[in-house]
Amino acid sequence: MAKEVLRRAGVPVPDGRLCRTPDEAAAAAAELGPIAVKAQVLVGGRGRAGGIRIAETPEEARGAAAAILGMDLKGHRVETVYCEQRLEIDRELYLAITIDHSARRPLLIASADGGVAIEEVPEKAIIRRMIDLPWGLQPFMARQVALRLGLPAEAHAAFSDIAGRLYAVFRERDATLVECNPLVICDSGRGAPGRLMAADARLNVDDDALGLGRQPDLPHTETATDLEKRVRALGLAFVELDGDIAVMANGAGITMATLDALQSFGGRPMNFLDAGGGASAGPTAEALDILLSTSPKAVLINIFGGITRCDEVAQAIIDVKQRRAFSMPLLVRLVGTNEQRGTEMLRAEGIAAFTSMREAARAAAEASRR
């Protein structure tokens, strides 16, 4: 998918065919020569999981496709394979455009050591070039990088061209990362100067841009558990963890702090659920309902209401309790507008209400051990 986006942007990528049957794969090998048969699934690490096979001949391609098609890769059934021309690779480089968060600007990263994860490349072998907005990547910057990579002079123009196109994709596609790894120099042995090609690529697109409906032709590839998908569909931030205390708080920072506090008292949170700084009763109640359905040993709700009205939150909690009869201890810390009224409402329903986050976290950790 990433390579297809780059190909359309004019970046040279290996030739290939999308195939649905072993026969089509054999035909592709007859046309392209030696190929790699790759499972088409949007999960990482497919090579290690057996989703990529090398085929020298059409017969081998047929066999490889037959083995991969229908395979289950990390929960995804393989429906198609991509048969890609194999390259005579002379050198593997790394080239990416990403965002430097501290500098608040795009950043070009390159290395002469391509083909391995950039995290594994020693710092001194990494070239970084900050890019100013709104001017963007200029040809001279790409030439500087080409020289530092030690590319042969005849490859400089092609390198500049590819870097410029990657930058255009980065900006136009709301990307947080456009990566060619490896960017290869190939086919040098045939008398002509080597060609530069993106042998493999990765494109990470900004979730917020996708959320606003930009880039409608790009898939949203989020890895989430079923429970995570259900809660996130309510518009709330949710991460499943491996403990036994259900947690809900309002605001990302205070939710993280609530998990930390629980663990400091020996409790084990089963999730991160941020009901939002301006928690409204509707989604909050639905999220709570989903949490209760997972049978936690205790439930901790930590609301520091800024603008949120505590009586509304209390009413939502009581509604859920009446809808779903449950026996596990429910511990609520409620502070903010109309705090006293909210606390009294909860007490009247037999729900423990706290004003201190510390005491609520401690009580939840203790309750989960009973």
């Binding site: 600007r105 795009p106 100013d132 205070i254 702090a257 800024g306």
Partner: protein, 295 residues
């Protein structure tokens, strides 16, 4: 004294006729903020809580002399609205919206840098100088109290939690500023700390950080040369790596942004790092006592 906003700050509210904009305009006025004008394209000539509404920021600044802006526009409109406010000469420009595309945020920051404007946010609750001086944003006014503690934070309700505990402990604040929870934000820890270091009223600073990014490590470098005590709390000690904890910026990835790295950097810079949010106020009190004892 204070940083960035005070009783002289004349505030423009963008998106003033929307539900959030109108509600918080009223809240900001009740706090004592000088909200002098609003902007809402297609709705010029109206009033919201007695504040006149204009078609453009340029017009609003021209007629009402606004000096700073707070934006209650949705994420899709942030790039245009923020650039309009910067172009009209306003600073700081506070961006409340969350889910602003990161490329839009980079564009806004580049324009602000070119014009010398300070941007706060996106994805922030804003900035507040207590004592009825100025509140640009959405925090509940009642938690603040004027005093000597500067606060700069990445997250909202966690700031409220800590500010409320400071206030309860009799430790008032000079200015409280939220940087925002996104990976690309305007004002960062270092820019806020530089201002607190020059502010006469601020005698100690509380830094509320979290996992993800390198902002805390960069702050630590700056703190080494600061003469005022800094107390920090970092959220996410127990967060699993590779998972985005609510904020787009709160993720430990590619071996960066870990709790340990931040804690180590801050402690090496002489910062007292609180184990839990409720440990912050006692540490601030101790730091202030040491400061006055030594003087």
């Amino acid at each position: 004294m204070s940083i960035l906003v005070d009783e002289r700050t004349k505030v423009l509210v963008a998106g003033i006729t929307g539900r959030q904009g109108a509600f918080h305009t009223q809240q900001m006025l009740e706090f004592g903020t000088r909200v002098v004008c609003g902007v809402a394209p297609g709705r010029g000539g109206r009033e919201v809580s007695g504040v006149p509404v204009f078609e453009t920021a340029e017009d609003a600044v021209d007629k009402r002399g606004a000096t700073a802006a707070v934006l209650f526009v949705p994420a899709t409109a942030v790039r245009d609205s923020a650039c309009e406010a910067i172009d009209a000469g306003l600073s700081p420009v506070v961006i409340i919206a969350e889910h602003v595309p990161v490329h839009d945020a980079m564009d806004v920051m580049a324009f602000a840098a070119a014009r010398g404007a300070v941007v706060i946010g996106p994805n922030t609750y804003g900035i507040c100088t207590p004592g009825g001086k100025a509140k640009l944003g959405i925090p509940p006014g009642r938690i603040f109290h004027p005093g000597p503690v500067g606060v700069v934070a990445r997250s909202g309700t966690l700031s409220y939690e800590i500010v409320a505990s400071l206030t309860e402990d009799g430790l008032g604040q000079s200015t409280v500023v939220g940087m925002g929870g996104d990976p690309v934000v305007g004002l960062g820890f270092v820019e806020a700390l530089k201002r607190f270091a020059k502010d006469e009223e601020t005698r100690a600073v509380v830094l509320v950080g979290e996992i993800g990014g390198t902002a805390e490590e960069e702050a630590a470098e700056f703190i080494k040369g600061m003469d005022r005590p800094v107390v920090a709390y970092l959220a996410g000690a127990t967060a699993p790596p590779g998972r985005r904890m609510g904020h787009a910026g709160a993720i430990v990835e590619r071996g960066r942004g870990s709790f340990q790295s931040k804690r180590h950097a801050l402690e090496a810079a002489g910062v007292a790092v609180a184990e839990m949010p409720w440990d912050v106020a006692p540490l601030v009190r101790a730091a202030l006592l040491r400061g006055s004892g030594g003087a």
